[in-house]
């Protein structure tokens, strides 16, 4: 077990990427994730084969990612909400080409230029793909600096394993907060890369990385095959954490910073005798549908705590088939709910002390 260091989330994430064997970073400054680029600017040039480039735009950066990804090497970019919108075209192309890559979104208030304080308003964008066409990214939502590290490493592995994009859906709090974190040695799995562009050496047929298919039957088949892959991922890769759910009569559902604050609120409610617990999705795609559906048979209601106008609440309703009511407890625009606010909402819904 290596020593613990006090690190900012953004920087810990960057270090984790390097530990996971990523040697290519392309980015652009945008608050609140610029520290990722700054950290990479310092670290990458000191590593054998390390490449750091500040691109002219988020659009250029995601296309540079496509270039490296096409050669079969680990590569990442990071941005925040408005920059992720710019990358949406590139993300669709990554999916259409079945290329592995890691994208980090340190979410801020929106829409438009919005604000620089934290939000979770890009949940739909992340979990529904973001760009045009039918596709998904594996979306991982850290709720601590330690998870900024763990999920980044896991994200790279999943991306290579399934030949698709992983997204770290962090919020500004995760990017900016400082917590003790340790970096254990990472076992980097190797996967088949025979499809990668490495030069034919005049010995093999050319490899082509492409998302265009004017033959509709072929394009449909590609989509069907991709979604068969997604179905397998939904069955095997969903991650979540339960908190005080054993005897829970009410279930809070929250990810990221919302989960951190909710934990305090749940403890407050438990002090008052309210039997509330939390299911925290760690992957928001694939969404932990099974555990939520099972919980719906036991609890009286769900409370979605989110920093948006109500996005994950729809996935909860879908997963639980609306068997029980699902309430929304939310702040937006950069505001973060306080434990008191969430506790009051829990009290209101549960009717106070049991």
């Amino acid at each position: 077990m290596s020593e613990k260091v006090l690190m900012k989330g953004n920087e810990a994430l960057a270090e984790a990427a390097i530990m996971a064997g990523c040697r290519h970073y392309f980015g652009y400054p945008i608050t609140p994730q610029t520290e990722v680029a700054a950290y990479m600017a310092k670290r990458m040039p000191k590593i054998d084969g390390g490449v750091f480039l500040q691109a002219e735009s988020e659009i250029a950066a995601i296309n540079m990612v496509i270039g490296v990804a096409a050669t079969g090497k680990r590569v990442m970019t990071s941005s925040s909400s408005p920059g992720i919108s710019l990358k949406s075209e590139g993300i669709s192309y990554l999916a259409g080409c079945d290329l592995p890559a890691l994208i980090v979104n340190v979410q801020r208030g929106g829409p438009g230029l919005g604000g620089i304080q934290p939000s979770q308003s890009d949940y739909f964008q992340a979990t529904r793909g973001g760009g045009h066409g039918d596709y998904h990214m594996i979306v991982l939502a850290p709720s601590s600096v330690s998870e900024m590290v763990k999920l980044t490493i896991h994200g790279f592995d999943l991306a290579d394993k399934y030949r698709m994009t992983s997204m770290i859906l962090a919020d500004g709090t995760m990017g900016q907060m400082m917590e003790p974190v340790s970096f254990d040695d990472v076992k980097i799995n190797s996967y088949d890369k025979s499809w990668a562009l490495t030069g034919t050496k005049c010995e093999r047929k050319p490899n082509i990385v492409n998302s265009l298919s004017l033959n509709s039957e072929q394009l449909e088949e590609q989509n069907f095959a991709r979604f068969e892959k997604y179905r397998l991922i939904e069955e095997t890769e969903a991650m979540y954490e339960e908190y005080r759910m054993d005897d829970a009569e009410y279930c809070v559902v929250a990810f990221g910073v919302a989960a951190r604050v909710s934990q305090n609120a749940i403890d407050m409610a438990r002090e008052k005798g309210i039997k509330v617990g939390m299911i925290r999705p760690i992957t928001v795609w694939p969404f932990p549908k099974k555990v939520l559906n099972e919980a719906a048979d036991k609890v009286k209601a769900f409370i979605s705590v989110e920093l948006n106008m109500g996005q994950m609440i729809e996935d909860i309703e879908l997963a639980t088939r609306c068997k029980k009511p699902v309430y929304l407890c939310n702040r937006v625009g950069g505001m973060i709910p306080s434990p008191e606010m969430i506790f009051e909402k829990i009290s209101e819904i549960t009717g106070g002390q049991n």
């Binding site: 290519h24 392309f26 490449v51 480039l53 691109a55 002219e56 735009s57 659009i59 250029a60 950066a61 296309n63 540079m64 990612v65 496509i66 270039g67 490296v68 990804a69 096409a70 050669t71 090497k73 590569v75 075209e89 590139g90 192309y93 080409c97 562009l197 490495t198 030069g199 034919t200 050496k201 005049c202 010995e203 050319p206 490899n207 082509i208 990385v209 492409n210 998302s211 265009l212």
Partner: protein, 248 residues
Amino acid sequence: MVVYEKSKALTDAPLHYCPGCTHGIVHKLVAEVLEELGVRGRAIGVASVGCSVFTYNYFNCDMVQAAHGRAPAVATGLKRSDSNNIVFTYQGDGDLAAIGTAETVHSAARRENITVIFVNNAIYGMTGGQMAPTTLPGQVTQTSPYGRDVEKVGYPVKVCEMLSQVDGAYYLERVAVNNVKNIKKAKAAIKKAFQNQIDGKGFSLVEVLSTCPTNWGKTPEDALVWLEENMLPYYPLGVYKDADEKED
């Protein structure tokens, strides 16, 4: 005795281009250069979006299809991944000089050691003949049906001239493929643009004035004449930058 044969750097896929389209000539020149320089095995090409979108089927080397305008950024990734790769983009005027202007300028500014083949036929071919940034004043297209009115939509973009002001650009030459003499010069320029990359010298771009008989509404022969009479005066041929010849 073989007098002439198709380059090994071209696949057997039949080209889809219109009769008289000069893409066929340019593809051949690029392929022959890759073979003659012995880099076909290291080459990775970036196909763009336009009539030439299918170059990923035509060049016999590893290929990637880029989004419209983004080829130089994808090329940047390919080259930075492994500098041993000989990376080239093949782009039309909309791809390179409209939507892709930022990627074009900045890959030059960054001194990316790549080779850019820029096919300029003053029109958007694939989508049926709309105005391009390089469409000439007065030229009739689907989106300039009364002729390009410079009062309303400004002047054509001169890419070589513009990029010559970018310090990171190493070699910029404008050529044409309207006659045999020019085709030979075009091949020499393309060869130099790839040799520069092999030598690690930096960003090399060859602008190739080309015809689009179908969307210009001309026969292939008349299109070649139109190029000579109208495009050459506006887009003079020649070397716009060559850092090999630095002034003392």
